[in-house]
Symmetry: C3
Subunit: 363 residues, 3 copies
């Protein structure tokens, strides 16, 4: 009779293989007109994670919904979200290294991607998986954890991301890093997930990102609110540049983004959850140094609205799988300034989806 | 001493990781002339499948012989054949959702791809792995199962597959679906795998597909015969269009395909199997609406013949691995109509292969 | 209580899933000037390997740092290093088939790629993972093993690798094979890893490759020395062609490469290892059949030097993981002939790296 060696039993017990899935049947509308229906595998990410040693934890996650393209800076494929090691020196200190999820903060970003029906602009357009290293410290009260990360600021090179002829006088940074500071606090019903980050995009050109995630849980109710704010010396998200490009400004300087995101959950029972996600993403830009007139409406260019009401049902007792029905609405409202100077027009689209979400443990 | 938790033991017992392989050394001939020799990994598909819960079955299969390209309609890579969940409500009813193998019917299509030395045209040129959902019902006699599937009709968009300027007046469908009806019957020595499918390719343009798979097993003999037939308002397989393109008709209307496929197995012993696969694929097209003369030979354009005699040897007792030697011949015979109107010429090629096939369980 | 079946217990005990990783933070210099700093995932290769049956061993390894591109000749992705089966007929004889690591010989090549900080030219520019078959024979003394392999000589077709208009009169081979002969000898403190290979690149155009790997171990010291030599009727490495291309000779005939590689290890303790890797790669070419003057300096074009001193620390007792600090220097020195005839100039670059290496067993 074979007998599994103890070291293998330990791996088999502690390591999970997970198929992270979100699939749906969706009906899409634009400006109130029905466009198309289709089945979509919104997310399929295979994951292997767990303790591989007393003091070492490993995590790997790879998407099957993205081409496998090794990147110029970090050498690993964009399809690979995570490939890192964590050393747990003791109960307080941990060290991370590898391809990490940048610890931006905010509860929207912290969720498993399969839980998100649609990301807010400020996350959707960011580079979230970067190679680097980090250190975490848990306070002795076990309720507050602080993390510092040092990462590449991007996976692709400066010249791949930016058309340098459109950026006279800008010199690529020799070490384009992202420094991240994160605080996770737990105060019983209330918890926080705050962070501040600075990115060196080019010489003397930085990006500053603040995310303040807040969560309140009581009985059947669950409220999450994220405030996110980004100030970008060189527009990295590209949303503002996508607008100014209409007037020949390919890469906008001094773009600002501000985002409010809220998720409300009402757990009617262990099987049924009603939820509402609301988001509001503002894009700002000051036309200084250009021939354009001043933007008198606080430099705002557009507001992107999102509203996602829905229901989630858990049909199985011992399986983390839910069936959902949602309505996912997006509305892009431009300021008069953006309309008259850049020819923008409001758009409005939504889709009705039913589907399945599961972080299915398969081994 | 570690001890594997019960839930893990259940997964480890019920879930298999499989390396589906077909590799060969092949010598290729064209029109009777030796062309080249090479080693080929014809198939390498990693698979994870099994019961992950009392009532839930998971299956994932991915190829390493195809680029990873997420598709416009379903968002998942073409290299991923399968990524689905099956819920077994009870002994009779099952529900499927995800990227599925369309239940086209016919024994050729139902086989593990590594068992196939060369596919018949009608399968080779089809889109077989589609995202969608299905329901199966097993009769109380446990011998007859009926399946209904609703799938996307393709993974790519209409404009990616068709040059719309060559299709004046055709409007892409808003919901390009495939509806599939399948019957698996078991009558002792005789069994069936029949299906009928309808695809909505464009507004008012449908494709109809019928597959009648039949199997007869007795002692050492094993006979499979598939009849397949497809009527395509817009030529989806592209075989007819490949011919008519020579006269400027890029996408042919009203193409028809008919296929006969037979596989004979003679199990000489538990270690040796002699087999013969024969196939005959006809392509038809009516030149109505064009300036071409009528096609008097029942509108046939070509017949593609296939003949694959061979031997399979199982060297191991407890391992599903076989060594094969085959001769794989293909002959493409065009009708006089295709020759005179489209300048087609018959072709004849074959290859002699020796190799290994295994759906190797590796974990 | 579930209970894992015996066949599964056997697989779970004998098969390993391994995340082969090399990650680093590196500071890069060129001609003495600081260029850039970045975090890099130098290597990430997932591997599954082990005994899947009494007499059958399986191995699969795939990179996440390379695009998934199926190859014209062998049909499998370049990202897949290994996908093969080994049959152990008895204690002496083994047979291999599938995508193999060509058994070139030499200790540099034989190492796990994550152990290599920088490859010598002669390996860096070679095609090392090829589909084919092989046989190994172990002498009854259990100290000498001989291997013969027959492989495709490349993964891509002749016309993909070579611009045939630049090669008048050269006919692609009908069976472009590589034949490999390898000897692994063990003489106590001294061991060998020698091989000779011949590649058929085109009709009447062969490549001959000799690798003589030698290892000496005594107490805390460990010395490896490889001599490698390649004579290429058609320049396959492309290093010489990269130089002659400057004078319009796209594919050089009769290139020769010679490589010396040495690695010294001084295991100060079970936790600390000091090492030095040195390499010298010469590229030769005889300008016969061209209008260029004779190359009087033994036909040499350049010498590529490599010097890699460093330290490796193993922080964990039961985990094969090391932290390293190295200085990786490369110097390319051209002969006067190459400078005056092809306009080449010497280059000198280096990088200082700290990082982590682990063939981490994750399941």
């Amino acid at each position: 009779v074979p007998f599994i060696p103890v070291s293998k039993q330990s791996l088999l017990s502690n390591v999970d293989v997970i198929a992270n899935m979100q699939m749906s049947f969706q009906n899409e509308f634009s400006e109130g007109t029905y466009q198309q229906s289709r089945f979509v595998m919104n997310q399929f990410r295979l994951e292997i994670r767990g303790k591989v040693h007393d003091k070492v934890y490993f995590r790997f996650r790879d998407r099957y919904t993205r081409g496998v393209v090794p990147q110029t800076i970090d050498n690993i494929s964009r399809s690979t979200d995570l490939a890192f090691l964590r050393f747990d020196a003791n109960d307080s200190w941990s060290i991370y290294a590898g391809k990490l999820c940048a610890d931006w903060g905010g509860f929207e970003f912290d969720a498993n991607p399969i839980e998100i029906y649609e990301y807010s602009d400020i996350i959707e357009y960011a580079d979230n998986f970067l190679v680097g290293a980090g250190v975490s410290y848990m306070l002795p009260d076990k309720q507050n954890q602080f993390t510092v990360q040092l990462l590449n600021s991007r996976t692709a090179s400066f010249t791949e991301l930016y058309d340098t002829t459109a950026l006279p006088g800008i010199k690529p940074a020799k070490f384009p890093f992202a420094g991240v500071l994160n605080w996770r606090g737990n105060f019983g019903k209330f918890s926080t997930l705050w962070s501040y980050s600075v990115f060196r995009e080019a010489e003397n050109e930085y990006m500053n990102y603040l995310a303040l995630g807040n969560q309140f849980q009581t009985g059947k109710f669950h409220i999450q609110y994220d405030f996110k704010w980004s100030r970008e010396a060189l527009d990295r998200k590209g949303i503002v540049s996508g607008i100014t490009d209409n007037m020949g400004i390919k890469h906008a300087y001094r773009a600002r983004y501000m985002s409010h995101w809220v998720r409300l959950d009402w757990h009617l029972s262990s099987k049924v959850n009603l939820f509402f996600v609301g988001m509001m993403d503002d894009a700002y830009w000051k036309p200084s140094g250009t021939t354009l007139p001043a933007n008198t409406s606080t430099n705002k260019l557009r507001t992107a609205w999102g509203y996602i009401p829905g229901v989630e049902v858990y049909p199985f007792k011992n399986l983390n799988l839910k069936v959902f029905g949602t309505f996912i609405g997006r509305k892009y409202v431009y300021t008069d300034y953006a309309k008259s100077n850049f020819g923008m027009a409001n758009t409005d689209n939504y889709r009705a989806s039913i589907g399945i979400i599961s972080p299915l443990v398969i081994l």
